[in-house]
Every structure is written in structure tokens, then in C-alpha cells.
Subunit: 122 residues, 2 copies
């Protein structure tokens, strides 16, 4: 795959994971698309390993039951590095929250995610 | 230091390094502000260790003798992670080239930089 196609696959799979509210399917996605030692960190949370990342995502889903993530713009990548912007907001509505995630991949799977917030409601 | 102050120090030191054309001073900045195992990667180049990073910067300076880097906007950080946008262009002029760098720090020094291009001349 080209870098661009791989970046799109990684970014879309990542957004799908955050929006998947079926526990079993979410864990399957983590097992298929993330490495066993994957870690996640953003300004509000840090998780190591698929089980902790799964629990973190489930927690965010419970806190924002009507919110959905969307991929914004075109993911960008070189080598094993991918970055993309996402929005979070009410399903089908605006995205009051936006962020940029910076991903390191390994063998086509997500090994680490470092997230930054680009926009939060004032 | 707060995250914000630390991010500003890291980002400003990074820009100063790229603009420093005195070889000895550039190596001093690398020795003081980067770890001994620091690595740098962007879509065009990859370097490991201060000596290789120094040679890479010197090469870019020779290729763009009248260009200067500038910090754009406000650096953002949490924990050991920093990101900021920079511009590159003729000294005192516009910045036809822009990028965003993601930095991992360790003990207040730069341990890794992963860069992405935000804008390049068409």
C-alpha cells in the first residue's frame, strides 16, 4: 500500500474503533489493528495495552452517549508515522471538539497514539 | 515549569538551533538541549544522534542560505509531549513552507522529533 492509502486505513480504523459501542466488536478491532503493547496518551488520559485502551474508550462513550467521532481532512503519513485530525460532537451535527492524533505504526498496526486537542468549547 | 512554559522553551530552542549557522554554537545547542540518543524524522530526512542531526541541519542551511525558520502560533504540550507549527522562508518575508513537529522530551531535553509538512509551494 502507498503511504497515503495506509494512512487512510489506519485513521479510518481508528475512528471506527472509537465509535464502536459493541464491546466484543471493539475488542476485536483492537486485537486486529493494534499491537499487543500499544499505548495511548492525550491531555486527559493515558492507557497501556488493548484492555486498558478498550476500557478508556468505553468510558468516553458512556460519558458522551450521543457523540460520535469523525475523521476531518486527509490523513498524512510518512514511513511508520501517521497524523490526522478528528472531530467529536453530536451524531450528524457539528464537531465542537477537535483534535489531532499522531500515530506510530508497526507492521500496519497501531503501536502508539499521542493526541492533542485543537479546539474545545469555551 | 508549567507544560506551557516548557513547551515554549523546547519549541524556541528548536527553532534557534535550526537557524544557528555557527557550527560550534549549533553543536553546543544540540549537546545542551537534546539527549545523546535523540532521533529526527520527517518526510524528507531521518537522522539519529546529535552528530547526524547537526549534519542534516547544516545541509538544509546550505541548500537554503537565505531562509530562516520561525515559530508559528503557540506550542502545545502535555506531559513529555510537545507539538508546534513552524514556517520556513526568506528572512523577514513570508513562509512558503510550513510544518508541524511532534516532539518527545526526556528530562527537559528533546529525545525525538517527528515532523510533518503542512504547506509546500505548489
Amino acid at each position: 500500500m502507498t503511504d497515503a492509502l495506509n494512512a487512510l486505513k489506519i485513521a479510518e480504523g481508528y475512528i471506527t474503533l472509537w465509535n464502536e459501542r459493541n464491546d466484543a466488536r471493539r475488542r476485536d478491532l483492537l486485537a486486529s489493528n493494534w499491537t499487543g503493547d500499544a499505548r495511548y496518551v492525550d491531555p486527559l488520559a493515558a492507557s497501556e495495552g488493548p484492555a486498558a485502551i478498550d476500557a478508556m474508550i468505553a468510558g468516553v462513550q458512556q460519558r458522551f452517549p450521543d457523540f460520535e467521532f469523525a475523521l476531518l481532512g486527509t490523513p498524512d503519513s510518512h514511513g511508520q508515522f501517521v497524523r490526522f485530525q478528528w472531530g467529536l460532537g453530536p451524531r450528524g451535527g457539528d464537531n465542537p471538539i477537535k483534535g489531532t492524533d499522531f500515530v506510530v505504526t508497526e507492521g500496519g498496526r497501531i503501536r502508539s497514539v499521542t493526541g492533542f486537542l485543537d479546539q474545545v468549547p469555551s
